[in-house]
Structure formats: C-alpha cells, structure tokens
C-alpha cells in the first residue's frame, strides 16, 4: 500500500489540496491506520506551532524592511548628492572581474548609510546593515537590474525587488536605480551584477547565469558591471 507523504499532509493542513485530492486523502486515512495516525500527529504539531509566539527576529526584519522601503523614496536624492561628490573623485581602476563594455554607459555602485553613501568597487568592504545603491549614466533610455549572489550562495534580484522584468531607466547622468537594498546578516563574498540594457530582458535567465558561473556575460545591447565585495558583520 502506498502511504501518504508528509508533503500531502502539510498541503492538507494548509488548505492547498483540491476538493478531489482532499476526498481521496481522507478516504485513504479511513482505511490506513498508519496514515491516520500521521495526519493526527502532524495536525497536533501544526496547531501547537501556530500557537507559539512569532519570533522576535521576524518582527525585527519586518521593521528593517519597512525602513528600506522608506529609503527607496529618498535614495534618488541621496544618490544625486553623492554623485556630485563622485565627479570630484579620480576614477578607480577596475580589477579584471569588473567589466564596462560600453563607452557611453557608466554603472556605479554605492554603499553606506542613507545620509552618507560612498562609491564602492571590487574588493571593497561593506557591512551588514548598510544600504547598497546602484546608479547609471547613459544617453539612451533603457532598462536595468541589480543582481546579487551573497555569501551563502543565494541568488537575488535587488532591483527589481519583485517580478521578472527589468526596471525602466530613462537617459540621464548619475541617476539612481529605483530602490536601494538594506544588506542582511549574511557575510562573505557578495557578488553584484549591475545590468543596463537597451530593451528590457527577463531577470530569471540572468540570475541563473550569474549563480551558475559567478559571472555574467553582457547580452547583446547590454552593459554589465560585476563588483565583488567583502561583506562583513555590522560595525
């Protein structure tokens, strides 16, 4: 006899099962003591867990997330101010892991507090709790994204934060990508890919390539800048 998996029971408890699947599962448990017992055990486990208080860390993360959302609103102002400072700085030499593949599009990365962002390049140190913001200079309207592989190997799209479509980037000088990212507690090598394209591309394949190769070749009509940072614990 094939028994019901825990996955099926978890789905039952979460209300994910269709009516037909639920009926089938319930019919099975009427005839199978082992599965009936397992359903009862997981139901008790589910109920006990749901009654536990929410971990403090989750509430703290929600507050942090709310602060990030507010930063997104002020980030353009911050970046514009920081960009003005950057114009006075000497250009940094790029390591071989950074690529600027187009002469008329420049991609920059910034880190720091909302009030004090600094330009960062490969091998620079950043810290948990700091904000990361990308900016660009280009004469053409386009679209872009900021992708990341963190120290735990997780692949994320920082910009856009949701969805699979690049954000629209109108032509301009030292303009911010829409949204900054509050860096979490995962430390280690943080690989950032800033991508600008003439036309929007789906994020999924770019993120997959970045994760698989730890690098991202610029697709046709795109400019990619790879920046590898050393992310350390919050100061």
């Amino acid at each position: 006899m094939t028994h019901i998996s825990d996955l099926a029971i978890d789905r039952l408890l979460a209300g994910e099962l269709s009516a037909a699947a639920r009926t089938e599962l319930e019919a099975h448990t009427r005839e199978c003591d082992r599965c009936a017992s397992r359903v009862a055990a997981l139901t008790a486990e589910h109920d006990a867990f749901a009654a536990r208080p929410m971990p403090i860390a989750i509430g703290r993360a929600k507050k942090q997330r709310a602060r990030v959302s507010r930063v997104w609103l002020v980030a353009p102002v911050i970046v514009a101010a920081a960009a003005a400072v950057l114009l006075l700085l000497r250009p940094r030499e790029h390591t071989p892991t950074e690529r600027l593949k187009s002469g008329d599009t420049t991609l920059l990365l910034w880190a720091g507090t909302p009030n004090q962002l600094r330009p960062v390049a490969t091998n620079d140190v950043i810290h948990s709790g700091e904000h990361l913001q990308a900016s660009y200079t280009t004469k053409r309207d386009g679209a872009g994204a900021v992708l990341s592989i963190d120290g735990a190997g997780g692949a994320f799209s920082y910009v856009p934060a949701t969805g699979d479509a690049m954000v629209t980037l109108p032509a301009g000088r030292e303009r911010p990508f829409p949204g900054s990212t509050l860096l979490d507690d995962v430390t280690g090598r943080e690989l950032i890919a800033i991508v600008w394209c003439e036309t929007s591309r789906p994020i999924g394949p770019l993120l997959a390539e970045l994760k698989a190769k730890q690098d991202l070749a610029a697709p046709p009509g795109c400019v990619v800048r790879i920046v590898t940072l050393d992310k350390q614990a919050a100061r």
Partner: protein, 159 residues
C-alpha cells in the same frame, strides 16, 4: 501581490522545522534554519514568486538551506557519526537502512542528487511530488534516484 510572511510562518513553519530537524538531526540548527528562512523571506520576499504552492516552495528552500549548512560547516560526518537520530516519519515503508545510508552520503552527492535523495528516502515523496518540488520531469527524478541508488550500492559494498 505581497507575501504575508507571518501567515506563511503560522501555516508552514511547523513543516519547515520538522523537516530541518529530520535532515540536520539537530534541534538547535533546525531552529536557526527555520528563523533564517522566514527572516530571509521578510528581507527578500521576491524569493517566493508565488508561481508554485507555498508548501512546494518551502520544501525546496528548507532542503537547500539544510544541505547548504551541512556542506558549509563540513559537519555532515560529525552528524552521521555522533548524533544521527532515527528518521521520525513512519509514513513511508522505504528502507530505513537506505535512509540511514543516504544521510551518510549526502555530503558526497551532487546537489540535484542530494535533494532528490532527501525527498525520496527521507521525506517519502512520490516521484511526481519530487518532480514538482524540483521543477523537473518524473523521468529526470528517476534518473537522479537511479544514480543515488548506484552510489548507495557502492557505499554498501565498500562497508
């Protein structure tokens, strides 16, 4: 549509914790993984694109988090040698011996085989369920499990 992480935690946290305990064989680490997963969801809700059911997504995330932690800390052999707990689910009659051996070789398995092995030998999932969680064909699941079986057979012969 936004992700209601608190609701997901209430509905699915128990299964994340249970599976993390089963894979890690360590209550403290399972608790950390549970917290990491949901804190990570708050910070980066885009991880869950809502194209799959929450249960499917969280099974995959939990498995990946456990395998990653085991690999990163290079403690898999310690777990196997010192404190492997008996697999708590008795839902599936698949061999307890195979489950024990799977734990022993998880660290040596390629990622995709390790995930398939966890789902089949430890979670007792069907090929169809594994294919859904891994987002691949049943045929591919069969191939992965066949390779795992070959490795387990090699392990048995060597022991």
């Amino acid at each position: 549509m936004g992700v209601d992480v608190e609701s997901l935690y209430r509905k699915y946290g128990h299964s994340v914790l249970r599976r993390a305990r089963q894979i890690m064989a360590n209550d403290d680490e399972a608790g950390e993984i549970l917290q990491d997963i949901f804190v990570g969801l708050v910070a980066r809700p885009e991880q869950f694109d809502q194209r799959s059911a929450p249960s499917t997504f969280l099974y995959a995330v939990t498995t990946n988090a456990c395998l990653s932690r085991l690999r990163d800390r290079k403690n898999r052999m310690r777990l196997v040698d010192e404190q492997v707990k008996p697999w708590s689910t008795e839902v599936d009659p698949r061999s307890a011996e195979a489950a024990s051996m799977v734990r022993g070789v998880l660290s040596q398995l390629p990622d995709d085989e390790a995930r398939a092995a966890v789902y089949y030998h430890l979670d007792g999932m069907t090929h169809a369920e594994i294919a859904e969680v891994l987002d691949c064909s049943r045929r591919h699941v069969g191939d992965l499990l066949e390779r795992v079986a070959e490795r387990l057979a090699g392990q048995k012969e060597a022991s």
